[in-house]
Amino acid sequence: MIQQSIIKVGMADLNIATEGAILKTTGLGSCVGLALYDPSRKIAGMAHVMLPSSEIAREASINLAKYADTAIPELLERMAGAGAAVERLQAKLAGGAQMFVMAGHSDSMRIGPRNVESCLAMLHSYKIPVLSQDTGGNFGRTIEFDSDRGMLMIRSVQYGIKEI
């Protein structure tokens, strides 16, 4: 058996994988892990999105991978550069949890659900179908996307391992 190589995607980071490599991102809390896949070319991309919209950015040079509305176009461009076709892409996503529930707190505490909403809206605008998602809840997730099989493996402390 050939060992599949693992490509790590950090927080507020994105990357692509081909030739059966695995994309992995760890410790998703309110962040969303988004995987895009072109099944006929077996090209996969993953983004670890931290915030819903770059409109709130106060930094001088924006880290595109950090915001849902900039990470998805950037990921599409990178994947197209590798030979993927946007009209064939499928999406799977995980994360967007609310780690701590606090009564009566500001909107920033609902960051997880807002990240998910923003990702889904972006995918909708590009007409990319969402095959499956495992989002919300109050627990962290580590995810791995297999660019050979197109499956997203999700690991959590409370619920163990599952594949979507």
Binding site: M11, G27, G29, M50, R58, E59, M99, S108
Partner: protein, 206 residues
Amino acid sequence: MSIINRLAAFELDVLKEVGNIGAGNAATALSTLLDKPVDMAVPKVSLLPFEEVAERVGGSEQIVIAVFLRVEGESPGNLFFLIKEESAKGMLQGLLSFDEHSSDGYTEMELSALCEIGNILTGSYLSSLADFIGLSMAPSVPAIALDMAGAILSYGLVQYGEMGDAALLIETTFLGDGQALEGHFFLIPDPESFDKIFKALGVGSE
């Protein structure tokens, strides 16, 4: 991240002292609870890339028990009290005579007890800090989670996400009962709190 780039060595020392006073009082509280000496490391103040914050407690996937408080008031921020599972079990047995049980996981009673320990320690951390700085700090009701360190800590980094890829945190580690009990405090003031803290302490940046 202009505030943070401006920080002089002297100001970093001030923040270390802030961490020292808070954690010192918390360590005393823990020592009283345990009836054992508790040692404390010198606080660290660092501007860490998001990716490295969780490395301080053993990596993004390290399972930790975290008590989280959102601090409101004149200098808002996030305060985490993190312990690894072995330390949590040790605390439950040592302090509260909970029976050692072989099964994984925690009963509601045990989590509630850990949350209360966290509440006492973070409460003493914050109240000594508020007295020292002279700013009001109102903690939220504590919330507890048993999960991956990366997922938990990222929750406290969102305010920094809007302005960069790194966060300034004040970290203090303490050790009790030899090396058996290890805990970490992470105070992550909101970016706009630093000027207020310095001003209240009479450390002008101008």
